[in-house]
Amino acid sequence: MSLLPARARTDIAPPVLLGVLAAAVAAAFLLSLAVGPSGFGFGPGGEAGALIFWEIRLPRAILGALVGASLGLAGAALQGYLRNPLAEPGLIGVSGGAALGAVLAIHLGLAQLVALALPIGGLIGAGVAMLAVVALAGASGGPVTLILAGLAVSGTATALISLALNLSQNPFATVEMVFWTMGSLADRSLTQVWLAAPLMLAGMGALLLVGRALDALTLGEDAARSLGVDLVGTRWIIVAGIALCVGAGTAVTGVIGFVGLLVPHVLRPFAGHRPGLLLPASALAAAAFLLIADVGLRLAQPWVELRIGVLTALIGAPFFVWLVLKTRAELAP
């Protein structure tokens, strides 16, 4: 028997963990509604105040919560399925496809003609990317073929986005396309929210179903199947769920990176490393994180105009440095 003492456990009882995170989301949501360039509070009163509340702050807060939850949930689901803590939702190509669809809508001039051309272009792009990944990856073959298919699709999307930027004759369109790849929650209408929200909620509902399968996969694929898990079904639910929630989110906000990688990773010890429990926990934490990051942007707005995708990347990059140093320390003799 080992002489090592039982190491202090960092995991928290599931109801407490989820309760605390849900409270954080509620607080961040209210904060997001209350903070803005026009002052603190739930509408300074009058018609202008009501307009600001309903047309600017409410869509932004709903979108922040839904997109954050989608990214956190999708990242946790993919990390659990691939059994790799470095997986992130962009890996399976749907966010690249959504960005390409939106960029094409700008490039072809559709965005000027039809109000919703951007998000609809994004949704079509995400859908095409998902079908391409499904066709390439096939039903069997495990995680490796899924990663390879995702890399092939996202690589193609990146190449075509570069091509569109390269060929663009119109500097305004070029700037718009570049900004789209940075992601933003600002100036989205409630119509856009209603377009994406049902798809995101459906995707999240699907992803929350695979918790048991992900738990079982902790023991490897053969043991998971012997526990009654349908691996092929799990694979398709995960691909479709990520395509719905991340694809629809990206179609409205543009690409927001790092959240889906960082949040599940940070939260894992608190969920006792259980991939099933990590799903709802990561969804809630990522929603709170994105809402708070977005409030931070608005507070910084008088001095600097930042986009949320840039901010998450600025937070995410040092996180990677920390991860490298931590891993090095753990692997040191």
Partner: protein, 257 residues
């Protein structure tokens, strides 16, 4: 539960690994599947567990083809322990053993009192109760092997299929593990292990199936299966079957030319 192969054929890629294998394992017995590397021991266990589909013949559990079982019912009746002791995340020992309860848990439900009782009983049966709060990745190889058997026991199976459960363990842990497996068989369960250690097979198993080139070339009690003739045919070795202090020992002497 009676586990049976009838003219079982299983093909992996283009190679037919099992070529019409007949064998059976019975309740209350610890049955060993032995044979040289590549003979088809793992393939046979996976076919019994429903993880590989036969290309001919049949794998039967209680007289029914494995494929006819509902996945959930099969998971409640039969536990399978892969050879690799994979645990991907730093779960606690208790959380790993609790995974054995998944086939009993309705979607979205938490741990029931019955689940908790089964988990505690499984940990106790494998002398692992004191390990419960430890992260499983910090355990020694022998401890991890016991914890994974406890996970299989938490499934409350009537049959346990284990692939090389003692591989890589020191002699003390090998003996302890096999005593535990024999005790499980004594409770009326069907326990089947794939095994390389012929002395362990001789000492602990009630029945041995010798697999060679995808067929069972001998089956029955250890002293009837572990004969010089059978071992020469399957492994290409000369070997002695001895009894020392009442313990049977199989000693490989030389490789046949």
């Amino acid at each position: 539960m009676r586990i049976e192969a009838r003219g079982l054929r299983v093909a992996l890629k283009s190679r037919e690994v099992l070529q019409g294998l007949d064998a059976a394992a019975y309740p209350g017995q610890l049955t060993a599947i032995i044979g040289p590397n590549g003979a088809g021991k793992t393939t046979l266990l996976k076919a019994f567990a429903g993880l590989l589909a036969p290309s001919g013949g049949a794998a039967l559990i209680d007289g029914r083809t494995v494929a006819d079982w509902q996945p959930r019912a099969l998971a409640q009746a039969l536990a399978y322990l892969p050879q690799e002791r994979i645990v991907h995340w730093a779960l606690t020992v208790r959380a790993v053993v609790a995974l054995g309860r998944l086939p009993y848990r309705p979607l979205g439900a938490g741990e029931s009192a019955a689940d908790a009782a089964a988990i505690e009983a499984a940990l106790a049966a494998m002398d692992a109760a004191h390990l419960a709060p430890r992260p499983v990745l910090e355990l020694s190889g022998g401890e991890r092997a016991r914890v994974l058997v406890a996970r299989a026991l938490a499934q409350a199976p009537r049959a346990l299929l284990a692939d090389e459960p003692a591989a890589g363990l020191d002699p003390a842990h090998q003996l302890t593990l096999f005593r535990h497996l024999a005790a499980l068989a004594a409770t009326g369960r069907t326990v089947v292990v794939a095994l390389h250690d012929l002395s362990l097979a001789a000492r602990f198993c009630h029945s041995i199936i010798l697999v060679h080139d995808g067929r069972a070339i001998a089956a029955g009690a250890p002293q009837d299966v572990l004969t010089p003739g059978h071992l020469a045919a399957a492994y290409g070795i000369t070997a002695r079957y001895h009894t020392l202090d009442g313990v049977p020992v199989v000693l490989p002497v030389d490789v046949l030319p």
